[in-house]
């Protein structure tokens, strides 16, 4: 075979479908496909009957959103799912049966042994072993691991203790509107309307993301350990996380203390972080340069900063990472997985 065969193979245009096209992540998926010049032969937009009939623009053309049915996947090569775990569980098998490969952004299949859970910068090779479905990791997990993985390669990861600062867009469009409305209500002295979150989110923080497990952690908090073990190929890795919703519109941040098997050095840590794909070191505190959610919004790369030798744990580094959870935590990572196929 000639040298060009491989690249020809990559760029063979694909017939794509997006399930949940009208959601926050679905819309980002279209933008990412455009921005990365993904070879799209055709794009089918699928959503609930309620959203069907709307038109969305893709590469200058209007595409009418169709209602999702069992028969939506005929002729589709790759289906990007982002419409919640229930929809994925019900419709991904139909997509696979119709011959499509599914890249699923929900948590439905992430822990299935037969489903690769992939962050392309970390474990791209895992994508090769799929049986029709590949899973996209949890947003906070993906953003954190982007910074942790290069350090793991250098020093051998043992465990993580982390606290998150998660934006309302992680909950969806209604949560964005709820924050906006509450801010207006407070500035006008009116009572605060609560609908999406159990408590006021404006000018408050909620140590509550996803539902609670019996041991007192939330499902969201345990994803770092459960998904991290699969992505990093570290079956004994442990992670204790506190996930907190903050009144930020977009981009998640995480304060991370990572303990390693081997001695760490700041020089080496900086070096591997600067060389790693998909992350940018923003770390000059004397000039007030550190990652912040408002600067990471809309940016593909995750930003890492506040890097320091941990003063309480030996062989440990503490740092701060921010990333756009709609991009690296969802749409970008899903399209990157599709690029691997």
């Amino acid at each position: 075979m000639s040298k060009t065969d491989h690249s020809n193979n990559i760029s063979t245009p694909k017939h794509l479908a997006i399930v949940g096209a009208t959601g926050a992540v679905g819309i980002e998926m279209m933008k990412v496909l455009e921005r990365r010049n993904f070879p799209v032969a055709s794009l089918r937009l699928l959503a609930s009957p309620r959203s069907a009939g709307k038109s969305l623009e893709f590469r200058g053309e209007q595409i009418v959103v169709e209602p999702l049915t069992e028969n939506s996947f005929k002729g589709i090569d790759i289906a990007l799912f982002s419409a919640g775990g229930g929809i994925s569980k019900e419709f991904a098998p139909h997509a696979v049966k119709a011959g499509a490969i599914v890249v699923d952004n929900s948590s439905a299949f992430r822990m299935d042994a037969g489903v690769p859970l992939v962050v392309p910068e970390i474990n791209a090779a895992d994508a090769g072993s799929h049986s029709g479905i590949l899973a996209n990791p949890n947003c906070t997990t993906a953003i954190t691991l982007m910074a942790v993985h290069p350090l793991h390669r250098a020093f051998g990861l043992k465990r993580i203790i982390a606290s998150s600062y998660q934006a309302v867009s992680g909950t969806g469009a209604r949560a964005i509107e709820e924050l906006r409305q509450q801010v207006d209500e407070i500035s006008q002295g009116r009572p605060v309307t609560k609908d999406v979150y159990p408590h006021q989110i404006a000018f408050n923080v909620l140590p509550h993301v996803d539902s609670f497990l019996e041991d007192g952690y939330t499902r969201e908090e345990m994803k770092m350990q459960n998904e991290g073990r699969r992505i990093l190929h570290l079956p004994h890795f442990t992670a204790s996380v506190t996930c907190v919703r903050v009144p930020v519109y977009r981009a998640h941040s995480v304060a991370v203390t990572a303990e390693f098997e081997n001695p760490v050095s700041l020089e080496k840590a900086r070096e591997v972080l600067m060389e790693a794909p998909g992350i940018t070191l923003h770390d000059d505190p004397s000039k007030a340069i550190y990652p912040m959610p408002i600067e990471c919004s809309g940016e593909d790369n995750c930003r890492v900063g506040r890097l320091r030798l941990d003063c309480a744990l030996p062989n440990a580094l503490t740092f701060w990472v921010s990333g756009d959870q709609l991009l690296k935590g969802a749409a970008l990572n899903a399209v990157q997985i599709a690029e691997l196929l």
Copy 2:
């Protein structure tokens, strides 16, 4: 001596002064003195020449704020200082010379071996050994230690890894106004004005509280370890903290992982937290009950919740604490120290 001597002694009315009376903490100090029926013989309000001449109400009477000078402390028994480290360093010695006992809310004397650093619920006995000055701890440290101390007594504290979610009122009245103004500017589509913080605080989070040290931690972050060692009498205690400013008006929150020398149990932890003074256990996640800054604002007690066995560190507990940093973190603790005298 009769049994009543001691209580008579406590209630002998004192001549008080508040330095920094017009600041956020100074105003809270007056409210706390009123609320706790502190035996006040007279109250002198002191501030910068700029604020002097204003009148503030105390127990139904108007008191005119006087300009702070070297001679302000004649006849004063107890002077509560909350006007920044520079003012404390310059004027506390004059107060002591005039015969007053100083309770200082700044960081000026906290690490001086001859100055007791006191959280009355934890180390009240230390107050006895003062030489005229007693120090009030950092707000985030005080709030965190209120929850940590009962657990330390039960299990023997080894180290802490923590991340904070700190309100803008910790910075002062101008920061409260800056958040309010930025929210208005954003809702009106106008450019955002930055003055107090180096970056926008509205709908953002800043991993930057206080100034940076050479090792990459901030001064604020190291206070937990440095002040914690003195308050807990644990010279080898270590604490790795990431301090983060969040767009909340009042009350700080901290996600804490505390590792102990001895095995921990949730039952025992709950028991000691329920019995401990100054804290309230708000911990029923299934009913969305956990500490939140908007509920702790104006409340003397700190709230503890999200208590769980740590899944990454042995002999460790992870929990969430919120407290009003103007009260337990400042004014309340200072008045409680004055009550010990």
